[in-house]
């Protein structure tokens, strides 16, 4: 048993860190987040040259054909660098297309020619696919990530009562921005009146493709959150070492130091959970779906609390626009609820684990 990254996984991670340090320093993040779509085509092309949008896409479709652990390693670095734009949205859509057994758009996604997203939420804002009510390509979807720059939108809808997935061309639908707290990843309302697109899957095939894609994106998000937490912790610790009050570095006061210790515990634990879930998905482990929810429950709370401590430790300075911590703080809030918040995933664990444990039979460990 070995929980560490393999040499090639570690190289991928190190290279990603170097790449984003050069291509997407926080000054770039700040520049890009002030643009209309928080997307920068040049950065996207550079990322595509590295193969990032195609990490999971099979080699025969032009991707890198790697696994979830590699993706998690990459996502952790993207979270650390707070990379703005449609990476996660595109990943989600690509995973749905592939899980549906299609190759449609995959090569263009892998090459960076097309960006994509997935439209699931409606006005009730539920992440449960059972809540999808939209009949065919009519009506509106809400909170669709990065739809503004998406060339392809995978849409979950009903086809005579059955769940169905469609691929729709981004330029055939009406997209309205929904500005939120996270400035680096934009949300849109999408109206599908007049949409051009094709059926991708329906019935059980659609349901399982959607489930698989959401699981993949959720774990990726958890790894990304871990990278963000790591960075927030580092900023706070650095500040606590240098900032002096009452003649001592504030990190010498337990009230501050122990907040830093908690940030470490939350970050490391989120990391363990995210990588375990990534491995479990790759290896079709029996507890893979529960592990996804475990990672999201933990990271949702831990990432928010790390953000809270990260600001608090830096005091007034942490509350300024100039300090980068708020960019992570805002992202943490969006990530907390994306793909279902902790409450949602706890209920999912209850269905996956607790409801399957029988009252009358002793349960093995």
């Amino acid at each position: 048993m070995n929980f560490g990254l393999s040499e090639s996984q570690q190289i991928l991670k190190n290279n990603a860190r170097k790449f984003f340090a050069v291509e997407c320093p926080v000054s770039e993040v700040r520049r890009i987040m002030e643009t209309e779509s928080a997307h920068d085509e040049k950065l996207w092309r550079s990322m595509a040259e590295q193969g990032f949008p195609g990490v999971l896409i099979p080699e025969d479709s032009g991707g890198m054909g790697l696994g979830m652990v590699e993706l998690a390693a990459l996502a952790e670095e993207m979270g650390r660098a707070l990379v703005p734009g449609p990476f996660l949205a595109t990943l989600l859509a690509g995973a749905a297309i592939e899980a549906a057994g299609s190759k449609k758009h995959l090569a263009e996604i892998a090459s960076g020619e097309k960006k994509a997203t997935l439209a699931l939420l409606e006005s009730g804002a539920s992440w449960n696919p059972d809540a999808v009510a939209m009949e065919g390509l009519t009506g509106e979807k809400m909170f669709v990530p990065d739809a503004g720059v998406a060339d392809v939108i995978v849409v979950a809808a009903r086809d005579r009562g059955d769940l169905a997935l469609y691929t729709v061309y981004g330029d055939s639908v009406q997209r309205t921005a929904m500005p939120g707290v996270d400035l680096t990843r934009r949300l849109y309302k999408v109206n599908f009146a007049g949409a051009r697109g094709e059926l991708l899957a329906r019935g059980e095939a659609a349901g399982s493709a959607l489930d698989r894609a959401l699981d993949i994106a959720t774990v990726t998000l958890c790894a990304e959150m871990t990278g963000g937490m790591q960075r927030v912790m580092e900023m706070a610790v650095e500040y606590a070492k240098t900032r002096k009050q009452f003649g001592k570095p504030i990190g010498q006061y337990q009230a501050v130091q122990h907040q830093c210790a908690d940030m470490l515990i939350w970050t490391e634990s989120s990391r363990s959970a995210a990588y375990y879930a990534a491995w479990a998905l790759d290896n079709h482990a029996a507890d893979a779906r529960a592990a996804v929810s475990v990672a999201k429950v933990y990271a949702s709370d831990a990432c928010r609390e790390t953000g809270n401590r990260g600001v608090q430790v830096q005091g007034g300075m942490g509350f300024t626009w100039e300090n980068d911590v708020h960019l992570y703080y805002r992202r943490a809030k969006a990530s907390e609820s994306a793909f279902g918040d902790a409450t949602f995933h706890r209920e999912r664990i209850a269905r996956l684990i607790i409801d399957r444990m029988n009252a009358s039979s002793a349960v093995g460990v």
Partner: protein
């Protein structure tokens, strides 16, 4: 123990309530969240203070001889609560009325009282405060802005931060170091500085919410006449602490009303979203109700004690910790109930209450930092209330 208002208090409340009912501008609630320039907003608030002044409601807590109303503490609390209940605009000169005027009354000389007090009440001259510095936040006494005596004036150099209203202010209550040779609490002096003096620069400081509630002040060779010293030279720590003591006094009275209004509004939205049947939502809302009520009871007890003893004690730290941490929990809980809608910002058509919940969440993060961090407040409780050794 009698929690009913006395007949006098009731009469006072009725008078205040009636006045606000008749005079609070009808357009304020809409205007509050609207986009308008800070200057335009401020002109509006100045006019509102002038209206309150003319009716005798500016400086309720001030002694009558200085143009105030000489209200008891309980009357001040009633006034603040009623003002919040009526959703009245704040007064433009909030620092002058609440902190600096009382400081001048307590420590200033007759000439200063005569020169400054009336114009504070009427909002003719707006005041701000220059205390915190980049390297002197929790450790205020470590401040390094200096005032060097040169003939009949101090020459002031330095930088202040977390200044409110600096961009609008005519005057500033400034703390500077006038004797660097003695230990840090002993060489400070409080000066009243004309913000139009040569060498004063005001820069907005943008917060994580995107607003600029605060400013940075820069002083470069600013000349402040010696007659503008409040209290004695090098006795500024005592004067500044007197000012801060007011900050932790009756401030919470209005907060409690605002929190309750936020709670009521959240319940209303939750009803509309048909979420109040969800046992999890019910628990969360009931917990918020509980905490807001306990805050109210704590405040009633604290005000009642101050009313008897006359001095706000270090127990003010309990109130500060309670309201700041309560609001952070409340805003987080609101986010959980509102779901992704709660994150939508001002300008999003689907945003609830024009993005006030997204803003409220971000803004609450500052609550445990501003006006003394939670860490400092717990130090105060530990040392000054419980008698534990000083931990810093």
């Amino acid at each position: 123990m009698d929690l009913n208002l006395t007949p006098q208090e009731l009469a006072f409340r009725d008078e205040v309530r009636a006045w606000f009912a008749a005079n609070v501008p009808k357009d304020w609630v809409k205007r509050r969240n609207a986009e308008e320039s800070m200057e335009a907003r401020f002109t509006y608030l100045r006019a509102w203070q002038r209206k309150m002044f003319d009716a005798g409601w500016a400086g309720v807590s001030w002694p009558k001889e200085y143009g105030g109303r000489g209200a008891t503490l309980m009357e001040q609390v009633i006034f603040i609560e009623e003002m919040a209940r009526a959703e009245a605009p704040p007064m433009a000169n909030v620092l002058g009325l609440g902190l600096i005027g009382p400081t001048i009354i307590a420590y200033g000389n007759d000439a200063q009282k005569k020169r400054y007090l009336a114009k504070i009440l009427s909002a003719e001259e707006i005041w701000c405060q220059g205390f915190s510095e980049p390297n002197a936040g929790s450790d205020l006494a470590a401040l390094s802005s200096e005032g060097k005596l040169n003939g009949n004036a101090f020459i002031v150099n330095g930088q202040k931060i977390w200044n409110s209203y600096g961009w609008a202010a005519d005057w500033c209550e400034l703390v500077v170091r006038t004797d660097p040779s003695v230990e840090k609490h002993k060489g400070l002096t409080v000066l009243l500085v004309d913000m139009k003096s040569r060498g004063v620069e005001v820069r907005p400081l943008k917060q994580m919410t995107g607003e600029s509630e605060f400013c940075e002040l820069f002083f470069r060779d600013v000349r402040v006449p010696v007659e503008n010293v409040v209290g004695k030279v090098n006795d500024g720590w005592r004067v500044a602490m007197g000012t801060l003591m007011h900050e932790r006094g009756t401030f919470g009275a209005g907060l409690q009303v605002n929190y309750r209004r936020n709670f009521n509004r959240l319940v209303e939205i939750a009803h509309q979203m048909k979420r109040t049947g969800d046992p999890l939502v019910r628990q969360k809302l009931a917990q918020a109700y509980t905490e807001i009520e306990v805050m109210r009871f704590n405040q009633m007890r604290a005000f009642s004690r101050i009313n008897e003893t006359g001095v706000p004690g270090p127990e003010g730290s309990i109130q500060k910790i309670f309201w700041s941490e309560l609001n952070q929990r409340f805003q987080q809980m609101a986010q959980e109930i509102l779901g992704p809608y709660g994150q939508l910002a001002h300008g999003a058509p689907e945003a609830i209450d024009e993005g006030q919940w997204a803003y409220g969440y971000l803004r609450s993060r500052g609550n445990t930092i501003e006006a003394g961090t939670s860490e400092i407040q717990r130090n105060i409780i530990g040392h000054f209330v419980l008698g534990l050794p000083k931990s810093y």
